[in-house]
Symmetry: none
Subunit: 205 residues, 4 copies
DNA sequence: CACTAAGCGAGACGGTACGTCTAGTCTTTTT
DNA sequence: AAAAAGACTAGACGTACCGTCTCGCTTAGTG
């Protein structure tokens, strides 16, 4: 009775998949998310529209996977794993500053900027996409900070009663907001300052 | 030779303007931003489409003004001015916690939630709207924190070399991000914790 | 509650209507009925698809009206009314032969051939269109024969007990079938012969 | 060098062929010719699409063969040969009326009606199919009338100078047109009248 | 008796057109 | 002159089929 049986993944055309990812990212970069259309992606990829609708449910879905794929490819091309963990040299401030500087570089990379901003925007308004984004992209990274902060609690560099999941937001969220909402410039100096303020507080010691 | 002379504002129909604001906010609340259409707003407002296009350039523009109007109305209805300044009782932590608790209340008010999230989303992707949003809604609020922190520097509650514009992000941005991106729950307890962490730092004293 | 209110005919664009008729007839002539598409008609007419769907329910419907319009225009251009009646010179055979010869000319006119054959084909399979075709195009012509045959019955040229509606089919239907189904050649000689056979019978006198 | 070698008929699956015929006729009967699709036929027949395209060039082609097959089967099931000849009892009028009555029965048989009308319609517009239809279905039947009329000319029942190929159209074409174009009811009385009119003419004797 | 080599069911593919929806413009009539 | 109404051109939406193209799997016949 099932009208739509799920398509057979084993027969899927790898070539088409890659062409669709490439076309989607290109178009979002060129004309922006709103003006990117499924039709346009199909045309640029040299693919029938149905091939897109067969495997993805929406434009947002295509772009999410395309972006995840891009991130994965880039990671493999550069170092092996992007950041399995945050380095632990014993100097917490230095470690955090290093990671945040790398994040700054990434946020300013134009290849990532447009699609990730587009996805973030769509994620605000589209519950499902939002949850996927957070689960697949954001939360894994944040967990790395949680680990590093827990380690710092063991060495006494962070007070033991501090909740690491909240603590990390002190330096991560400001950067995120400046980038997302253009509320201020982004630089190494800025993130270094965030780490210092967060670790040692605003009140005099 | 000018085909489009600017419309004559003195002849503008106040009734239509109000009806359009109301219709826009209702529709965004009912069906979400993406499914709200100019046509739908015009129909619900009992207004011709051209009347919308004559005075606004886009759906986002209508909604921005509608939202600003709503904010203004609500402010006038409730207390006079919402927060011309942040209270200065001499207890910085208490003052910040009070304001952030009020912000939490506002963020959880369903009348504000959908349209402001929609505007924020559009603002990520639409440069012009984003700048307007930041300039008209966000930055004025943030300046209040700047003032309160400067005052705290004078009383010695905040270290003098701290940049208040960055400092405020330690407790404001985490809240903003949790709300915008659903990365965590929002509560009085959470914002209180943020203030404590930000003021006294994560490192042991 | 009515979702689709009927469109307002008084505001209809005459220019678009004419352009659509012209495009439809051209395309049917150039590529045939099956390969003529609503999209193609809209494109050639420089018209939005919705303008077609607003006023017509289908490709067949457009073509029917376009053809009726063509027939009307052609009639007006040539003599006033095409054939308000069949001539009555007193010589029944001659009168019928004359009209059938004119019909032969019309059937062989390439401007009429393709669209009318296309409509006829669609009419076979599409009940509603078929009834409209018969009612608006075919039956009015046949009634002219009925009148002429009745007149002939008064003058004694046709037996009084003959049913004129059936009688006319003896010479009209053969011509129709040859033309529609390509079952034989069409010529003045052929229609003359049909009239002779029909009037005087096959059996010896 | 030949990309497409002709398929090997000896290996053809008889089971599939029969299933395709059955599915095609069922679907045309249920949803009409236009809404019958190759994909639908394949699905109902439990057959791959390629199996249809391997042996037939089009939907029309499938249906033509399916119909010919049906006609053949029906003929074999009923009497042996359908009508190798038209009976020759010496009474021409009676013989023709008998055959036409049988034709009326056939035309009103719902098993035949939909597919044959569909084929006829397609034949009007599709030259190739039209010629095949005429050659394989129509002309053979008409030749039987030619023979009977020639025989009648020998016995003096039909004038010797009459062209039998044209003469037969006097009673066959009207029936065909009424059936095809729904221009009038079909009955034994009607076909009897046609024969009488055709044999003895409309003019008084 | 394994070994081709075809036909087969299945269904993914690049496409075209469908009929619907909305954007933003233009025109007509009313206030 | 602004406004209500709504028809207009334009073009994307998601769906349905087209006809082609593999994929494994029978199923013969051949070596």
């Amino acid at each position: 009775m099932a009208k739509k049986s799920a398509p057979d993944t084993t027969r899927r055309s790898e070539k088409s998949r890659r062409a669709i990812y490439a076309a989607a990212l290109e178009l979002v970069g060129e004309v922006g998310y709103a003006k990117t259309t499924v039709e346009g992606i199909a045309a640029r990829a040299g693919v029938g529209k149905q091939t897109i609708y067969r495997w993805w449910s929406s434009k947002a879905d295509v772009l999410l996977e395309a972006f995840l794929d891009l991130a994965e490819q880039t990671a493999q091309d550069a170092g092996q794993e992007p950041y399995a963990t945050i380095p632990d040299t014993g100097d917490l401030a230095a470690d955090l500053k290093a990671v945040l500087r790398a994040t700054v570089d990434e946020l300013l990379d134009p290849r990532f900027e447009v699609p990730s901003r587009a996805l973030a925007a769509e994620g605000l308004v589209n519950e499902e996409l939002g949850r996927e984004l957070v689960a697949k992209l954001l939360e894994p990274s944040l967990q790395l900070y949680v680990q590093r902060l827990r380690s710092a609690q063991k060495t006494g560099d962070v007070r033991p009663e501090v909740d690491p999941r909240i603590a990390l937001e002190l330096f991560v969220s400001p950067l995120a907001q400046r980038w997302l909402q253009h509320t201020g410039p982004i630089s190494y100096e800025y993130t270094d300052t965030l780490v210092d303020y967060a670790l040692y507080g605003l009140a005099p010691r």
